[in-house]
Amino acid sequence: MNLLLTVILDGLIQASWLFVVALGLTLVFGVLKILNIAHGGFYALGAYLAATAVTLAAAHAVPPAVGFALMLVSGAAIAAAIGLMMERGLIKLFYGRDEVVLLLVTYAVFLILEDVTKLIWGVNPIYANQPYELFGNAEFAGLFYVGYDLMLIPLSAAIGFAVWFGLNRTTTGKIVTAVIHNAEMSASMGVKINRVYALAFAFGVMLAALAGGLTAPKISVQPGLSSEIIILSFAIVVIGGLGSVEGAAVGAILVGVARAASVHLLPQAELFMIYLIMAAVLMFRPEGLFRRETARRI
């Protein structure tokens, strides 16, 4: 019983930050219909910015809680601004072109971001673990857990709920949903498509940076973060269904819990586990678990 609880909790902790990354990725795909490889770059950027914010806050004797808030806000805000510029200045030039072209464009941005982070922060690992001690420790199922890790679960659930609520229960969300379903029809009804695209893209990459900021205190922030995360988040959105918030949540939980279960029970299979789930889901649901129904165009 203890083992089961441990596996579930470990899985949820991992799923929590993966979900925030995947949520951004799936949202951008849903609205703009592009697979944004640069998403991993924004995650790394968020982690680096968070690490810098934490280091600066510690140097200026800012209270840790304020430092933590600064860490999240600064990374997300800067990433959103860069995302906005990227969409307006680059991505929009390629709308209507083949999907592969956009894939290459975002891949190019991914490579540029990778080098920019190296240029600014160098190649050595950076540590920003002060916030990691903010939430104390808690005992659960006979094991000690770091409060920070446990805090990530409700926080990411709240972020997920906010996005779901925004999309399904607000006017702006309804407009975005309309664009997701049929951009041309929405445009003819007077929706400013370009604005929706720009905001959705900025919001999506902001989520990536936010997830990067949230994980920064737990890890050594170093080059290579971006490629690592993009593979994982792609796997999650493919399992969940591209463009689906619920899919991203279920995909993240599946990946997190399966990985935790394999580490505890069958460590040799850990690397293979994600791809096993992906293959199993795609065999029965080629569109992913929660792919939206789309109306047939006449």
Partner: protein, 436 residues
Amino acid sequence: MNRFKRFTQTFGMLAAGTGAMLAWAGPASAQDTFKVGIVTFLSGPAAESFGVPAGKAAEFVIGELNKGAGPAPYNKVGFGGLKIEPVIIDENGGATKQVQELRNLYQRDNVDAVIGYIGSGDCLAVAPIAEELKKPLFLFDCGTPRIFEEAKYNYVFRTSAHATQDNVGLIRYMKLKNIKMDTFSAINQDYAWGQDSRADFVAAASQLYPNAKLGSDLLPKFGAGQYGTEISALVAAGSDVVYSSLWGGDLQAFILQSVPRGLAKRSQLVLSAADHVLPPLGDKMPDGVIIGARGAYGLMSPKTPLNEWFFTGYEKAYGVYPVQAAYRVTQSILGVKNAVEKAMAKNGGKKPTTDELVAAMTGSEWQSPGGLIQMKNGDGHQAIQPIAFSRTKYNAEKKRVDLVDIVNFEAECVNPPPGVKAIDWIKGGMKNDKCK
């Protein structure tokens, strides 16, 4: 027309004359210098822990030797009077790139020798290339025992001991200190270094702790960075000992994530290569962790004039004390110096040919800051060396992690004898009469 002809003739003569003057008074000829390629990680995950300290140490030591400022017996300028001319390149980018870079060093830069390589994969890839080109290559750091166990080389040497000593030494240390190990767990990276280290440790444990049971046995991928689930598994296993060969950023992340969760309190942590993370971790490193440094290095180095010169000189130059990779590149440079001077003593003081250098290096031995290095294994091409282990203890006054309970092991005690494969020696009981 005539004027043009006269002008071109004059200009041509002037140009030729200037060229001849320059050639006559030009740069030092290849006979006055010894050009050496130094390959180390200047970027990538291994840069901070190993590559950059090694690069700095190489610059410091070569600078000192060129000034003739080394302690005896290393007080001759450069290599036997030849100025050392280093060409430092980045090891990052994978084995294929390194093969090309090595060819460039020998064929384009015309280096006399190459000292390099930290990654085991890189070492395995470049050794055959040096052999093919018949050029001297001195591997200074990589850990895999396979280099000279699976091939024979004439032009390739490794001037430091391989990973077997780290794990055999660790087990010997634990036995000596009566560490209880009825059960143990392991976490190592899923690539050559992690797998080889784990295999050696498990094999050595089965010799000295025959009843010890392996609990959680984890192999996360290189650069994983997040070990939450792994730490749960290790804490839940509750083994007496948790062994790891993690290093660099991965090891730091593992320590930072596992300490608040009480892993170090529940199990005795033993780390085969951890001295390099002590300066960055500081008080985040728990007390009482058993660590190795891949030699008698850093805070475990011997009190000799040679080590004093290196340790304090490096610390003065870079504001931090030297750790394993810095020591390892230094012992390699001093080994080459020793071989060059040995060869020159034989050939009447001329710059040695490749074959003379190789002959002088084979089976040689020399003093280094970390102790005596002996090219005893791999037909005189693979070094063995003494090694030290200790426990961590934070020193609040100095604001650094000190090392206590230091035990030194003779080279033969932790390395296989000549001609025997490491794993066979371990499984055969690690017989040696030089052990305490």
